[in-house]
């Protein structure tokens, strides 16, 4: 019975995504406008309130990675002159474009009517959309999100962003969709977002239980899929998270752990916090390396790149543009290093973790700069040992299984040795 329920949220998500990609494929015929944008600081509700459909290139890239197609796409991009060291999301996307723009679900992706660049902490995004603008010759709008350099969103930041939304983003959307901005519609959608966010947070925080009913990194990557992509502010999104929460709460009631590629992980030896994106090309192998050791991830920063909700932020229908601004500025990639450190420290304490591991991504400097410094500072503050591994986003050439396994095994054994050392 419970297995069937577990499946339902997965089935729902699969159907939602398939329908979305079908709509995208038919967009040239139906005339639905298409807006390309990025996950961190995405303005999904605003885009959809204009009846437009979002396309998120990083999600396409990571999906290609999981489907073992990114290697060919990266090759294709390198043939057209992109260097080996450039962000592999970019090359995967460019390669996909050069290979006919067939998206991860096998359907053709439409051309963008608008490139909406919401800038949250990654300069490469700007260059990426420059490349796409060159390709598609379409309007581009740049929504500048001030970096939380001092660790806070200041009132003037918010004003500056709201002004941009009003003066630049909304007029651009009005122009390409031919529709007027409808604030009531946006408010309705934001209320739906808040509902879904509430359930997502309940799911993520369920990892405070022992055993944890979820894996808050490998498993949660699936959980955040709808809310980080096209489904925030939609009834399907609300339904999905309601269902997911029900399933997870049932597992808590039964005292069960998550399902991993090696089956259920009820016997959990290590509770780990993870920082950094996962490796997508060897996602299951990577997960398996944790599961085999009895390690469950109880919290991760990566599941906050599309919005940090677990410290209280919810989209507020009463302040539609202001809340969008706050949301964008609050995304994980827009947080400075002390903020990231404080967040991991808090996760370690709140989730009673035994350790934390950083997966440092070779081709993403904006994520990995400062990570070693973070390890030391978090170790100093918590007294808990940090582990450091290196892989990549979607370049299969950067994943050395033996090396990563070696480091992970050593890391877990180190925790064991320390436990025994302390108890002896």
């Amino acid at each position: 019975m419970s297995d069937v329920q577990k499946d339902r949220s997965m089935v729902l998500q699969k159907q939602m995504i398939a329908r979305h990609f079908e709509r995208l494929e038919k967009a040239p015929e139906t005339g639905e406008p298409v807006v390309y944008t990025f996950v961190p600081g995405n303005l999904t509700e605003l885009i959809r309130s204009f009846g437009a459909l979002p396309v998120l290139p990083e999600i396409n890239a990571l999906q290609s990675g999981m489907r073992k197609r990114s290697g060919d796409f990266i090759n294709e991009a390198e043939k057209s002159g992109h260097s080996e060291d450039v962000c592999t999301y970019v090359k995967c996307d460019i390669g996909m474009l050069k290979s006919g723009n067939i998206g991860p679900t096998g359907t053709r992706l439409p051309k963008p009517d608008l490139l909406l660049l919401s800038y949250t902490g990654c300069y490469t995004f700007m260059k990426w959309f420059e490349l796409l603008r060159e390709e598609y010759d379409c309007p581009t709008v740049f929504f500048q999100v001030p970096y939380q350099g001092d660790g806070a969103i200041e009132p003037q930041h918010k004003e500056y962003m709201v002004k941009q939304l009003r003066d630049e983003v909304i007029p651009a959307l009005e122009k390409v969709t031919g529709k007027k901005y409808d604030e009531d519609r946006l408010k309705e959608m934001l209320a739906l977002s808040a509902q879904a966010e509430e359930d997502l947070v309940a799911v993520l925080q369920s990892a405070k239980n022992k055993p944890s009913p979820i894996d808050a990194y490998f498993g949660a990557v699936y959980y955040v899929g709808p809310i980080f992509s096209a489904f925030r502010g939609t009834p399907e999104g609300v339904e999905y998270y309601k269902e997911l929460r029900r399933e997870v709460e049932q597992r808590v009631a039964e005292g069960r752990g998550p399902i991993t590629p090696d089956g259920p992980l009820d016997d959990q030896k290590y509770r780990i916090v993870v920082e950094g994106p996962p490796n997508w090309t060897h996602f299951r192998d990577f997960w398996r390396m944790f599961a085999e050791e009895g390690a469950v991830v109880v919290a991760s920063t990566y599941t906050k790149v599309g919005g940090v909700y677990d410290f209280g932020f919810r989209h507020d229908p009463n302040d539609p543009l202001g809340t969008l601004a706050e949301y964008c500025a609050g995304c994980y990639t827009n947080i400075n290093l002390p903020g990231r450190i404080a967040m991991i420290e808090r996760y370690i304490r709140d989730y009673d973790a035994d350790g934390f591991i950083i997966n440092s991504v070779k081709s993403c400097n904006s994520f990995s700069a400062g990570q070693l410094m973070m390890v030391r500072e978090i170790e100093r503050r918590t007294g808990i040992p940090g582990g450091f591994i290196e892989s990549d986003l979607v370049d299969p050439r950067y994943f050395s299984a033996a090396n990563i396994k070696n480091r992970l095994e050593s890391y877990f054994q180190m925790i064991d040795a320390r436990r025994m050392g302390v108890s002896a």
């Binding site: 070779k362 070693l372 390890v375 030391r376 170790e379 040992p385 940090g386 450091f388 290196e390 950067y398 994943f399 050395s400 033996a402 090396n403 070696n406 480091r407 095994e409 050593s410 054994q413 180190m414 040795a417 320390r418 050392g421």
Partner: protein, 424 residues
Amino acid sequence: MRCVIGIDLGSTTTKAVILDEERRVLGRGITNSRSNYDLAAAVARSEAYVTARFNLLRREVAGRVDDAMLERLRRAFKLEQTLHQLRRLRELIDEEIDRSHENGLRRPLKDAIATMFERIEREEEERFADPNPPKRSDFFRDAAGSAFNRIAEEIADPTGVTFDMLLGLYDKCIIRVENEPLELGFRDHIGAALERIGRPPEIAGAVDRVARVELEEAASVGTGYGRARLPFPKEQIRSEILCHGLGAHAMFPGTRTVLDIGGQDTKAIQVDENGIVTSFQMNDRCAAGCGRYLGYIADEMNIGLHELGPLASKCHRCVKINSTCTVFAGAELRERLSLGERREDILAGLHRAIVVRAMSLLARSGGVFNEFTFTGGVAKNEAAVRALRELVHENYGDISMNVSPDSIYTGAYGAALFAHEVAN
């Protein structure tokens, strides 16, 4: 008597260490890992048992027999082992001649081979008689190979038995000799070794007694890259990082930082006052700066790995080498030679380049703390040790640096210490 064993299946060499009940080192064995990890483990193990018995013998006759006689017996034993392997190699080569050469060539080839083996055997006997034999590799393959090569060059006749023919025979058969589990145990050769040194009465009885001692293996722990090949349950497998940390601590109890440069990876390890690892960093998938780099250089220069350090130590000025890339090492070496740089100066630069790379890992792991211990195969290389001493001093000041002559066994020693814990 009860004993425990630790086996370190490294990428280039396999090491075994046996401890007695008081955790004292009883025996050590080492062999090249070849392409057959199972066999390498078996050979290292049997060699460790041989040295264990020699140590028991030493204890048995302590105070009654001087070390010189024991050393003579040990060398006689080694000679018997080598002669045994040479005989087997010759048998296989003769069979190979019958199988793969025409009638007319068989006789001259066999004569040439007979001459060669007579000479090699004579050289071995002379080596045994020489109280200070020249240093060379301990591995049968290396020793036999270099002698074979040298003599083949001298006796080859371009019109009949060519150098290529002779070397081809060696190449075909050496792998089989290496991959056959030869009888190399204590009891197999100690009788002949004893005869060779004239069966001194003060030792003969003790040899008999020691040969009859039952060595009961109470526990075994495996480590190293090939650890998955060992027929041990998972609890008896420990990561190299933990083993090097514990091994270094046992050798030098004041150790806080450990650097292990192995065949294909380098690890910077921090340990606490009990030898428990508190943090570590490891090279990424790229093996730059590892022992293998030196292997490539030795191949490029057509010299033995053990000759690199002494040659580099003769440098007048250290050439600055930019690339630590293993694959580029050969290119850089040839370029420097073509610019007229001296071989030993280039080699000194290459050694320094490896250590510079290791310094970065040490920095990543938190720095170098007193006392600092250098472990792994590269610690046998005097030029690498010197470069490390200089760089540690430049970067961290006055730190005492430990290098044990048995550094290559540190991982196996740590594994044996873990085995001791398992057994008790």
